[in-house]
Symmetry: none
DNA sequence: TATGAATGAGAATTCATTCAT
DNA sequence: GATGAATGAATTCTCATTCAT
């Protein structure tokens, strides 16, 4: 598929990928400018379209590429033998917060992709997301020790409450980060705050 | 301010508002086309700019207009004398779900506004949001009977967990609605499902 | 012709004239905005076109109107019984410099009209100017005592040299004024400077 | 800076320059239409903006370009070792009249630039003009043999009178040319006429 | 007289994509 | 593989003028 691109020397590949993900992450699909991408990557206009047929294909290539990067990181944790759902979710969230720091554009890109409104790519993204989400969630939910939960509560509700709480927390953090230098982002402050919520959940939902 | 516009006969006002909110809701600020708006509203190019100076003003007008509509609906509930936080949140969420059905574009527009990345309007939106959110949340959090909560838990965490759960639930519903005919949207299915989560929260967080 | 307009009460006439001449003087024909004119004059759009058929007619009306004002001031001096050409020119130039202070927009308007490039009005302006200039110059040149000039020089050249010198001087002054408050414009400085040039001309061209 | 443009083959460069200077010279900055320019130059809309970022840059490019052309012609004369101010001015005026015939649009463009009122470019033009005028005039006034002037007259006035006379004469010629076919423009008629004025000046201002 | 809503051609500028070199 | 000149439809916005009220 993109063999032409992958035959480039790695340094050039990275220059192109970084330029493109930065542009898409900050401006969305429609407003990203291929002009800016080639300028930032230091290549000619024609070359970009030589490797990636068009803007749409470039976007979807990046999406698939980074999703793979992401999954390689997450899967070991999701697949792992941790049976305590709260701990499992905590591990995944910490990974997520770590990745925000390491690849800010990548994460921005992927989460913006979720809200991408451009008609041109919406359908293709939806297909990919559904597949990805279904697979990941089934893994996340598998191999859980349900005996840890309190007896009289609806397990399904409990699982969702935990996940929405962590999702809400992540969004809150991301909101706080916006505009701040990433260097100042300190997980030593974030994780204890997260644990406050997890403690409450553990106290109430677990037996 | 927009007296020129409000002097129009109501039918025309609505045609313009609907056309504009539909376009902005589906494409975001930058990619919404004023051309499409005037075409859908059945008016001339010049007229739109006769009423609203420019695209940005039109967008912010819609934002303020719908926020007012929204607040008129919400405020009575938020201000009301319900002291049970869970019940209060339930009332507000039901209103929200109602409004999604009645004004899908409006709700889409307002919630997309929250993620709007266009530099041209970001600052103005941020100002408005901060003000609105601060006011509404302070109301939502006021007049709560904290004695209802279980003794040994962190109240702040509990409040957040409740709100994130309902937020997550709303998003899930909105996700389900996408693309479906709104007529098939039945609150008789949704509210019981929501109550399932609220019951779990009540059982665990309340005394 | 413009009887409808002249039947208005004087105050309204002046408001409209002032608004229009200010706009045309500052932006030229094409870039003057009828919108700005009606706003500044405090009348409706329709009314302007009720009195003056269109933008072009309004412009030419102003031109004719102010030219008349100008001529009423100049003619007595030009027609007068002063036979010394240098003195006559001096008188006219002083009048001109006075008018710059009294009606800055009018003078600006008329002198810009001379450089107006808009195809829409060029021809009409040229006709008027040629007529006006021919008439005025013939008056200026009439009734001159040629015996005052030195014997051996070409009189025609001398007349032109005098006029071009005063034209150059006027332009130099107007250049200096630009941007300065008109209140600071002091003929007590200007006239002696002008006389310096006139003295030189008198010493050399007159006998 | 404009290397992209200068890499084009000369024929195309000229087509674009001629189309642009013609449009600007005849309509001024604001009313010149980039649409008309590309139509006249036989290029696409996008291409003009590929070479020159925007209308303003195109205008200023032309200004600088033609000023350089002009200066290359003028400087040898201005810098030259002619010490007779009248002769020096005569040489420069003849050059000017030559250039009017060869590049009528260029000259029109540059002299209109002096009266350009558009706020968008006024400041940039003023800066350039001030610099250019200061430099050129200081050269023109340098290396003059003041002993040629009559003893009892004010030298400063004399210099100005000479320059204003030649300026007035040039303008008169340019006025005459307007609309006439340039082929009929004959310097064999113009120069003797100019010399008539110069003779009068020499007779009266020189010793 | 007087209003101001309504029109639509035309303005400058952007941008993904193509293709000859 | 690599370049960048070239395209032209689409963008937002302006403006003189008309006309029903």
């Amino acid at each position: 598929m993109y063999s032409k691109f992958f035959n480039l020397r790695t340094e050039k590949q990275e220059r192109i990928i970084n330029a493109a993900v930065y542009e898409f992450a900050n401006k969305g699909f429609d407003n990203a400018s291929t002009n800016e991408i080639v300028k930032a990557a230091g290549i000619s206009k024609g070359l970009l379209f030589h490797y990636f047929n068009n803007k749409k294909d470039l976007y979807l290539f990046l999406y698939d590429y980074f999703l793979e990067v992401l999954m390689e990181k997450f899967n070991p944790k999701i697949d792992g033998d941790e049976k305590d759902f709260l701990k499992k979710c905590r591990d995944v969230t910490i990974l997520k917060l770590d990745l925000i720091k390491i690849y800010p554009d990548m994460f921005n890109f992927l989460s913006n992709a979720h809200f991408e409104e451009s008609v041109e790519i919406k359908d293709d993204l939806d297909k990919r997301e559904k597949k990805m989400i279904t697979e990941s969630f089934s893994k996340l939910y598998s191999n859980i020790d349900y005996n840890l939960f309190a007896e009289n509560i609806d397990i399904e509700s409990a699982l969702k409450i935990i996940m929405w709480t962590l999702e809400g927390f992540s969004n809150q953090q991301q909101q706080k980060i916006k505009g701040k230098s990433l260097i100042n982002l300190n997980s030593e402050e974030i994780i204890p705050e997260m644990d406050k919520y997890l403690d409450t959940l553990r106290k109430t939902l677990y037996r």
